[in-house]
């Protein structure tokens, strides 16, 4: 195993943060405490974590509506995320973004986009800025299989390729765009095959294996930092929940079988990594329990913080529109 112990434990820690956070979020949605649409990242944790572990703190990421996993993987605070989901003033975006639009610019999280594929050109711009400023920062875009059929996918990757920008396009192929299977919506066998059209590397990777993710992304990062240009990575993964939490109550016709869900649940990214850590003697089970307890503690503190935080004031409605303010009515 090429990874050192600290990195392997960090991967587990980051995945647990997402899993426990998302499990609590579902109970809060079911209880009616969190309003609006919420998209659970459970099942996909290894994709964001394997990627973000390969990044530096000053690298950039963007994402999509399934937005909680990416910032948490990048090191964003649970407190700010949960407060944002509750619409509180102490949230990442002061309660103006909500579940689908988390962002923390202080640690390179340039924002999740509620419009599918819409953050792909933005990522290209961040990579362009990085290159123009003479830094070696890279910009990673997380998007789904559904986004790969948008025009913005093509325009963004082509631009990044012709300008040889330090951009990494990470497709989280969780098999379904709401209910449409990717095999029915994509003409090629693998989304990564489309890289050929841009003359860049296209890599298919097991998105349930955090180490495999980390290796593939690390190569892409190295390439991007050394002016080698962008890469397209397709991570095969699965969301355990429906498109949005609670969608099962609305969807009348099943679009996937219970057996299929079960099959993927049996390849749970956290279970795989946890067992590997214990069976290979990287850490004792007791240590893993300690780590889990630490994350649970962090979550409880975040829940308390989010509940106790104030809502925005009515006057906040008019704040943050313009950097150089103008009269608003």
């Amino acid at each position: 195993m090429t990874e050192d112990r600290a990195v392997l434990m960090d991967m587990l820690y980051r995945m647990l943060r997402i899993r426990f956070f998302e499990e609590r979020v579902i109970t809060m949605v079911d209880a009616g405490e969190i309003k609006g649409a919420v998209h659970s990242y459970i099942g996909q944790e290894a994709v964001a974590v394997g990627t973000c572990v390969a990044l530096r703190a000053d690298d950039y990421i963007t994402g999509n509506h399934r937005s909680h996993g990416h910032p948490l993987a990048k090191g964003g605070s649970m407190k700010g995320a949960l407060a944002e989901l509750l619409g509180k003033k102490t949230g990442y975006c002061k309660g103006k973004g909500g579940s689908m639009h988390l962002a923390d610019f202080s640690i390179g999280i340039l924002g999740e986009s509620g419009i599918v594929a819409s953050s792909m050109p933005v990522t290209v711009g961040a990579a362009l800025g990085s290159k123009m400023q003479g830094t070696d920062r890279v910009a990673v875009c997380f998007f789904g299989d559904g986004a790969s059929n948008q025009g913005a996918f093509h325009e963004a990757i082509n631009l990044a390729a012709i300008w040889k920008l330090p951009a990494i396009f990470v497709c989280e192929n969780n098999q379904y765009a709401i209910t449409m299977a990717f095999q029915d919506s994509v003409a090629v066998e693998n989304i990564s095959d489309r890289a050929v059209a841009y003359n860049i590397p296209g890599v298919l990777v097991d998105g349930q294996d955090v180490i495999a993710m980390h290796e593939v992304v690390s190569q892409a990062v190295q390439r991007a930092r050394s002016a080698g240009g962008p890469s397209l990575i397709e991570a095969r993964t699965y969301r355990y929940e429906d498109h949005t939490v609670g969608l099962a109550r609305i969807v009348k016709e099943p679009y996937r079988t219970a057996e299929e869900v079960e099959e993927w649940r049996n390849r749970d990214p956290i279970v795989i990594h946890r067992e590997r850590i214990i069976s290979q003697g990287i850490a004792a089970e007791k240590e893993v329990h300690k780590l889990e307890a630490k994350v649970r503690q962090e979550l409880e503190e975040a829940v308390e913080f989010a509940y106790e935080s104030p809502y925005p004031d009515a006057s906040d409605l008019f704040e943050d529109m313009y950097a150089d303010a103008i009269a608003l009515e």
Binding site: F105, S118, G125, E319
Partner: protein, 322 residues
């Protein structure tokens, strides 16, 4: 002051700001070859890294401007007004909404220079005057200069502004000349209307290429003994309501000349402002001289029927005086 073409004023403003601030760069289709005239000499002076020719990918480069601005650059994007629709998701979902949606964490100093090529038999796909659409999207500032001096001073303000600016350039005045200050810090502030001509009988608010037409109309009206005050708002967001309301308080009559389609036009918004806040000053109903709600036809026999003309403005003024 030197007599300068509108297009050259845009060019000068771009060069001066690119010299002043190394984070300013420009991208767009065919800009290295200066196909639309305003980007000549930029490649030679600033090099290929700051003067980017883009492929035909409006979503790609309009969105890339957002990402670049988010990490500290100041992009200028040159495009045609009609191509804004091709990149509309990036303009609306990203450029306009990002700052507010993310709680003010980011500022996006971007100028989208949108060329409006109406009036030249380019038919419905290339004749848009679509600035009113962007007035309806919070997050943008909307600038519509109508002479060379404003073009320069407003573009420099737009580049230095920290918000996304939709900057509309009217083809019908690109080749007109006017005196332009040579001072490199000559800035025209946003939200300050220009009273082009003072008058006492009627207020004519004119937008974009309708401004010189309104000035001609005012000349003709003067022959009839009618004193028209001509106001160019310069920026539609922010809108200098005060100057318009004060003028209407003085004249009691309002005609608005706006080459955009009538429904939800800039003229519609200005009418609403005056109806809401200046109603008791009015001595006659407000008149709008706009394009009708039809698409721009190709035929040279039909297209000129669409836009404000001197005659239409004069007729509208006469109606308010009846």
């Amino acid at each position: 002051m030197k007599e300068t073409y509108f297009t050259d004023a845009i060019n000068e403003a771009t060069k001066e700001e690119m010299r002043r601030d190394p984070t300013v760069f420009i991208m767009g289709q065919d800009i290295r070859s200066a196909v639309y005239g305003a980007t000549g000499g930029l490649l030679q002076e600033f090099g290929p890294d700051r003067v980017l020719n883009t492929p035909l990918s409006e979503a790609g480069f309009m969105g890339a401007a957002v990402g670049a601005a988010a990490v500290g650059m100041r992009p200028i994007v040159e495009t045609m007004a009609c191509f804004t629709y091709v990149g509309m998701d990036q303009l609306v979902s990203q450029a306009a909404k990002m700052r507010y949606m993310f709680g003010g964490q980011v500022q996006l100093p971007i100028v989208y220079r949108c060329l409006m090529f109406y009036g030249g038999s380019l038919a419905a796909h290339h004749s848009d005057r679509n600035y009113p659409i962007f007035m309806n999207i919070p997050g943008f500032k909307v600038a519509v200069p109508s002479n060379a001096a404003d073009a320069k001073g407003m573009l420099k303000t737009a580049i230095r502004d920290n918000d996304p600016v939709m900057f509309f350039e009217d083809r019908n005045i690109l080749a007109t000349k006017g005196p332009v200050p040579e001072d490199e810090d000559f800035l025209v502030p946003f939200g300050v209307a220009d009273v082009r001509r003072e008058g006492t009988d009627v207020t004519v608010v004119a937008i974009a290429g309708s401004v010189p037409i309104a000035m001609d109309a005012a000349d003709e009206l003067e022959q009839e003994g009618v004193s028209a005050e001509v106001i160019n708002p310069r920026t539609l967001v922010p809108l200098d309501k005060q100057t318009i309301l004060e003028s209407v308080a003085k004249t009691g009559r309002l005609v608005i000349a706006d080459p955009a389609h009538k429904t939800c036009s800039a003229a519609a918004e200005i009418s609403s402002v005056v109806a809401e806040e200046g109603f008791w000053s009015l001595q006659a109903p407000i008149k709008r001289v706009t394009a009708p709600n039809v698409h721009i036809p190709f035929s040279p026999a039909l297209e000129p029927l669409c836009y404000p003309t001197k005659e239409k403005i004069v007729d509208a003024v006469r109606e308010t005086l009846r």
